[in-house]
């Protein structure tokens, strides 16, 4: 297993995360409904709004998972925040970075992962909107565009822009 690498700008990234004043806050309907919408759209077992803190990933919104956080070094999202594009792992058992990850070999037995990075400021990716499933999956261009748009809505909510008010 490749432990989630620490990006060179991690201190600045963590500062951006903490400035959001969202870590360890209660669940909020504005995030929960996007997660529920994504779960229905993609028919996956788990959808998370995951924020990558110094030593953990903490879930602001979650469906399909009981844990409220996991260690950063075993997190898929710790890898996803290394790049601006959506990270897709079609089958974690076939990927050397994740094949023996305890989240793959044990509960929740992740096979498929897609994480769209959340960047409240350019280059500072604080977490992801991510999809997890115990079955291998593929996403086509339309799926990626839908996930990216839902990520943009989560990101706007993180920044207090309230994009979904009618």
């Amino acid at each position: 297993m490749l432990a989630a690498p620490i990006p060179a700008n991690d201190a600045e990234r963590l500062q951006a995360l903490r400035e959001l004043l969202i870590l360890d806050t209660p669940p909020e309907q504005r995030f929960d409904r996007i997660v529920a919408f994504a779960r229905q759209e993609f028919e996956v077992e788990t959808v998370l709004v995951s924020l990558v803190d110094a030593d953990r990933q903490w879930f602001k919104a979650k469906l399909g998972l009981d844990a409220c956080e996991t260690a950063r070094d075993i997190s898929f999202c710790g890898h996803a925040i290394l790049q601006p594009e959506i990270l897709v792992i079609e089958d974690a058992r076939a990927d050397a970075r994740f094949a023996d990850n305890p989240l793959v070999t044990g509960p929740p037995f992740i096979r498929f992962y897609a994480g769209a990075p959340l960047a409240p400021r350019p280059g500072l990716r604080v977490g992801t909107l991510c999809l997890l499933d115990p079955r291998p999956r593929r996403l086509d261009a339309t799926d990626l565009a839908i996930l990216g748009s839902l990520r943009d809505l989560v990101q706007a909510e993180l920044l207090g822009q309230r994009p979904l008010e009618s």
Partner: protein, 133 residues
């Protein structure tokens, strides 16, 4: 103008659905979507502006039926033969019969996926026939 992106009015009370369809349609170059949350607002906007296609939630059926009749009679700014698809939480045979003479291309029962809605947007606007799609 050949190749221009078509405009589609999306009338639906569900803001997350509307927003997602509009954002993805723009990103995939399918259509420019005007989001409208009520049939009353749609009626007002259609009186002043033309669109190339309409995806309309029929709600309780009566207001949307009136809007469709206005459209097909040429009383609105859009072409009277503008392509239209309907969405509904539920619809009975009697209501469907009212819409049948109004040249509706498709009726979609909720819940359906954003991906399905995008396929309908593409069909209504002809995006699927454009190069690159």
């Amino acid at each position: 103008m050949p190749g221009r992106r078509k405009t589609l009015m999306l009338v639906d009370p569900h803001s997350l659905f509307r927003r997602t369809v509009a954002m993805v349609a723009r990103e995939l170059d399918l259509a420019d979507i005007r989001e409208v949350s009520t049939i009353e607002s749609a009626q007002r906007q259609l009186e002043h502006e033309a669109f190339d296609a309409l995806l309309l939630d029929i709600g309780d059926g009566l207001a949307s039926l009136s809007l469709m009749q206005n459209l097909r009679s040429g009383a609105l700014r859009s072409a009277a033969d503008m392509p239209v698809a309907l969405t509904a939480e539920a619809v009975d045979a009697a209501t469907l019969a009212l819409f049948k003479p109004l040249q509706v291309q498709r009726v979609m029962l909720k819940p359906f996926k954003v991906k399905t809605a995008l396929e309908v947007v593409s069909a209504l606007t002809g995006a699927a026939d454009r190069p690159g799609h």
